[in-house]
């Protein structure tokens, strides 16, 4: 269970992911509890919120299948292909023909907020909701099956605003954020916005220059600048621990001389340190620093600094899963960028908003924002920006299972990266191509790419990239049954994770090594690593991974002939899975548990 997921056939994966979605299960449960007896039913209003039309379509197909197979019922789909049709469907709701076998009425118009036509659709939904509001009681008392309104997440606000009476009688609100599997890709292109600062190309050298100024009165501001540049240089190399130490010092010195330039030097150092804390996973500290930076920027009238702070706060909110708040802050950053004519800031705002949407599984909307970002980058001749957006677009395509298209886009990214001499982008594109080959089962081609990528990372000194490359190669070796070689590469991956202070990377690496050791029959060693994985996941607050590790420990203990201990771990895993709503994993752990009980 700890091994990173492989890509499957998209439709099957979507079916499986949807079935595992707690919200979707609520909807099916509603039908199970009400669907058999229509005679005493007085109808229901169900709202399904989907990020894009593709997901809505998948939901419709799944519900049709469920109604047909479990209840011998069908779904009446009211046509709403145009705004006019949507309003007509709502206006005519009381005239909808309900046959004996009709299980529900489905009115769907999912239009993302990025869509150029969204205003027309918002207005159509508002009209439709208002019309339904006016016949609410009649609808619920005369239509004996659920009316299901399917829209983008903004539909909730429309209902609250224009149809509060209708909203107040909602039976269920079902939010489906994604139907694709969570897969590990090359990390998204770096979108951390920074203040005006050039990271040192050779941070070691810059640091030695800075050392000459330590303790010299009157030279503190230059010392801070050098330390900050050195820290940024380490950050760019993903050498988080060094970057953190250097920038802590920069901020301490800058605080002492804050009055000298109105806090600008301090603000820049703080922003850099926050970015590093972000990289280290110390989110609360990063947020507190960014709040301080925001205050400094507002006090000194530094609009760009303010914009940068909002953008980075949004990234933290994103990592906390607070997507709406993140979008609100990115909206603020975008407005400031607009105001001050900062095209680059605007691009970053688009790109980061797209990433937040990606996290929410709102892939079509994310893609549209990436297209806007791409258009801006083309207009400005910003080839780095083009590379970044291409990389992120290809990640979306991979998640959507559109592997050929993703491959084509990665080709474009590689060509641009060659042109620009951007080695990091080139290597990142190679990594994603390798993952696609692996997903296609073309393991030797995938391996060849990752080996080339490894040389590139060794050459450039990008330790984080090298770690990812080892990790992916190890997984391919495992697919090929070359367990000893896989283990060797995992060890190298582990040592780099330790060096970089990458706890999330370590947790994944421990889990994967443990799985290999288990396959090799080295049970005690495997157990020790699962326990280390559990500790790392606990440190990160990743409850799902804690539970996965416990489940794996349970299975391993069972194999080791320790049923009583195995039961304890599995029961704990089941409890956690149930608590956080992961029914598929819960079921699997329960199956293991029941096997133990049977024996």
């Amino acid at each position: 269970m700890s091994v990173r997921g492989q890509l499957e056939h998209p439709a099957w994966t979507e079916h499986r992911v949807l079935l595992a979605n707690p919200d979707w299960r609520r909807l099916l449960r509603h039908f199970e509890l009400t669907g058999q007896r229509r005679s005493d039913s007085t109808g229901a209003l169900i709202i399904v919120l989907a990020p894009d039309a593709h997901i809505a379509e998948r939901c419709r197909v799944e519900l049709e299948g469920h109604l047909s197979s479990k209840l011998q019922q069908s779904l009446f789909v009211a046509g709403a292909a145009t705004p006019k049709q949507l309003v007509a469907a709502a206006s005519g709701i009381l005239r909808t023909p309900i046959g004996d076998r009709t299980g529900a009425i489905w009115i769907e118009a999912v239009i993302g907020s990025w869509d150029p036509e969204v205003d027309r659709w918002r207005s159509a939904w508002a009209d439709s909701c208002a019309k339904l509001n006016g016949v609410r009681d009649t609808m619920l008392s005369t239509i004996p099956v659920p009316v299901i309104l399917v829209g983008a997440p903004w539909l909730v606000e429309t209902l609250r605003l224009h149809a509060p009476d209708l909203w107040s009688v909602r039976t269920l609100v079902v939010r489906i954020e994604r139907v694709g599997p969570p897969i590990k890709l090359e990390p998204e292109a770096n979108r951390v916005a920074t203040a005006v600062l050039h990271p040192a190309r050779d941070p070691g050298f810059t640091l030695s220059e800075a050392a000459l100024l330590r303790g010299k009165p009157g030279r503190e501001r230059i010392l801070v600048e050098l330390l900050t540049r050195a820290g940024a240089g380490y950050r760019v190399r993903a050498d988080w621990n060094k970057a953190n130490a250097v920038l802590e010092e920069a901020v301490a010195v800058a605080r002492a001389i804050r009055g000298e330039d109105g806090g600008r030097t301090l603000a820049i150092a703080i922003n850099e340190l926050a970015s590093v804390k972000f990289g280290l996973g110390e989110m609360a500290e990063a947020m507190s620093l960014l709040k301080e930076q925001e205050r400094l920027a507002i006090e000194s009238g530094d609009r760009q600094g303010e914009q940068v702070s909002y953008g980075n706060q949004a990234l933290i909110l994103r990592s906390w899963g607070q997507f709406e708040e993140a979008m609100a802050l990115l909206g603020k950053a975008q407005r400031i960028a607009d105001e001050i004519g900062d095209a680059e800031g605007l691009q970053v705002a688009y790109g980061n908003q797209a990433l937040v949407l990606q996290d929410q599984g709102r892939l079509d909307e994310a893609m549209a924002l990436h297209k806007k970002e791409e258009a801006l980058a083309s207009k400005l001749g910003d080839r780095s920006g083009l590379i970044r957006t291409n990389a992120n677009q290809s990640a979306i395509l991979i998640r959507q299972g559109r592997l050929e298209e993703a491959m084509a886009l990665l080709g474009k990214q590689e060509a641009l990266a060659h042109e620009l001499g951007d080695r990091a982008a080139l290597l990142s594109a190679m990594g994603n191509r390798g993952l696609i080959f692996r997903a296609m089962g073309r393991l030797s081609e995938a391996m060849e790419i990752f080996q080339r990528q490894e040389s590139g990372y060794l050459d450039s000194g990008d330790r984080a990239g090298l770690m990812r490359s080892y990790s992916n190669q190890a997984l391919i070796l495992r697919d090929q049954g070359k367990l000893d070689e896989a283990l060797e590469l995992h060890k190298q991956e582990e040592s780099i994770c330790e060096e970089l202070g990458d706890i999330a990377g370590l947790a994944a690496c421990y889990g994967n090594q443990a799985a290999v050791l288990q396959s090799l029959g080295q049970f005690p060693e495997a157990m020790a690593l699962f326990q280390k994985q559990q500790a790392a996941a606990r440190k990160l607050g990743d409850t799902a991974d804690v539970a996965r590790s416990l489940a794996n420990q349970g299975a391993l203990l069972a194999a080791m002939g320790k049923p009583s201990e195995a039961r304890d771990r599995l029961a704990e895993a089941v409890r956690i899975f149930a608590e956080i709503g992961m029914p598929v994993e819960q079921k699997e752990a329960e199956t293991w548990l029941s096997k133990l009980t049977t024996h």
């Binding site: 609520r26 449960r29 009400t34 208002a130 509001n133 006016g134 224009h162 909203w167 107040s168 039976t171």
Partner: protein, 434 residues
């Protein structure tokens, strides 16, 4: 279906929120024993007014207005009144602006329909009379429906905004004439009812759902403006002669027309008063009873285990976060049923927490509203920041969506919904106002 699944299905269906009649097994005497009882207040005024009265009644979405109107009907009927209960939904297009003429002929038509349903033999129903009135006042319509008689006219008026607009325009200069015509009809009808029923039978006319007049973004403001004008300028015309009228009206009415007396239904209190953190025992008892009426003891045990005394601690967790809004209460319990495993339906803390989280998901707010909500929670008051219509609309939206709950002891007070409290505190601490 296994027996436990069958039981879960029954409980789930019983928890649906629909207006209930006082004789229903689900009916709970929420207000009857409390110092403030909106229905008893309406009833007292009717009884004391003897011949006729006009009262407005309101509550925010999901407060139980329709159930309380049914109770009023039942009680007045037992007092010997002839009660006609009509719903605006059946007569008006609630998405279009209306003016006094629309409302007058609608009220008269609905009253006429109700009297006929109660077997009062009117000489002529109002729709026929209205049809003749239009013809007599030489209205020229393109609509064929006018030729098709009164029944078609009634249906057409609801469905056909163009026809309604034509009539509005035609009657705009004849408001006095229409008032006389409507009041004349009502006079005759009231007399007829008295004659037929004898014993001094008086008519009470309950007209529900006017508060649902809202419209769409394009005409929402117009609807509000026209309604405000209607209630401000034509209050007298709405008093139908010799009839006790109770109209359910938008909850914003008292905010825009000072002195407008509206009997409101508050939420059920979970704490004793505005200034007290003590639990309101009465409130808790009523809320528990709402659930108990829909869930037999075996059903409660099936889901919540054995009680501690009379109390099911897990069920109380759901009651506590309902804020005292009956519809939210039932929704929370429905969610809990959805979380129950068909094979082993007993709920635990984790499943209750998931049920609460599922409902709480509908209570998300933005930074601007969060700051206002925080003020409401701190001061237990919902003072408008400005007198603008925008702020009023916002307050109404927050009340209708239950972000803010309205309570009453000796005076009115407000609080925010428990399901949004953490969200508000989080936002306010994260984004403090400068």
């Amino acid at each position: 279906m296994s027996p436990s699944e069958q039981r879960l299905a029954e409980i789930y269906r019983a928890l649906r929120f629909v207006p209930v009649e006082p004789e229903s097994a689900y009916y709970v005497r929420i207000w009857e024993d409390l110092p403030y009882d909106p229905v008893s207040r309406l009833r007292r005024i009717i009884v004391n007014s003897e011949v006729q009265s006009l009262q407005f009644f309101s509550g925010f979405a999901g407060s139980g207005k329709s159930t309380q109107l049914r109770r009023l009907k039942k009680e007045l009927e037992s007092d010997g009144y002839l009660v006609i209960h009509a719903d605006a939904e059946g007569y008006l297009n609630l998405g279009e602006p209306i003016d006094i003429t629309d409302l007058l002929y609608t009220l008269a038509g609905a009253l006429s329909d109700g009297l006929e349903d109660s077997h009062i033999a009117l000489k002529e129903g109002y729709w026929a009379r209205f049809s003749n009135f239009l013809r007599d006042t030489k209205v020229e319509f393109n609509e064929a429906s006018l030729q098709a008689g009164p029944v078609a006219l009634k249906a057409e008026l609801r469905a056909n905004p163009t026809l309604r607009q034509q009539i509005q325009q035609h009657l705009a200069g004849r408001v006095r004439e229409l008032i006389n015509q409507v009041h004349g009809f009502v006079d005759e009808a009231a007399k007829r009812a008295l004659d037929e029923r004898g014993g001094g039978t008086r008519i009470v006319f309950l007209f529900d759902s006017l508060e649902k007049l809202r419209g769409s973004p394009s005409n929402e403001q117009e609807i509000m403006d026209r309604l405000e004008r209607l209630f401000r300028s034509h209050r007298d015309a709405l008093q139908l002669p010799s009839i006790h009228c109770v109209y359910s009206v938008p909850a914003w009415l008292p905010y825009v027309i000072s002195g407008a007396q509206v009997v409101m239904i508050p939420a059920i209190k979970l704490r004793a008063s505005r200034d007290s953190d003590l639990a309101s025992e009465q409130g808790w008892r009523k809320l528990r009873e709402i659930v108990e009426r829909r869930m037999e003891p075996d059903g409660r045990r099936l889901l919540f285990g054995n009680p501690e005394g009379d109390v099911y601690p897990l069920a109380d967790k759901l009651i506590e976060v309902s804020g005292g809004a009956p519809r939210d209460l039932l929704r929370l319990f429905q969610e809990a049923v959805l979380m129950a495993d068909p094979q082993d339906p007993a709920l635990d803390e984790a499943k209750i927490a998931r049920a609460i989280a599922a409902v709480a998901n509908d209570f998300k707010t933005n930074i601007e509203d969060a700051h206002w909500l925080h003020q409401v929670a701190t001061h237990k008051a919902a003072d408008l920041p400005t007198a603008s219509k925008g702020d009023l609309s916002r307050l109404m939206r927050l009340l209708d969506n239950h972000f803010i709950l309205f309570f009453r002891n000796d005076g009115d007070w407000y609080d925010i919904h428990p399901l949004i409290r953490d969200e508000v505190n989080r936002i306010v601490s994260l984004y403090p106002r400068p």
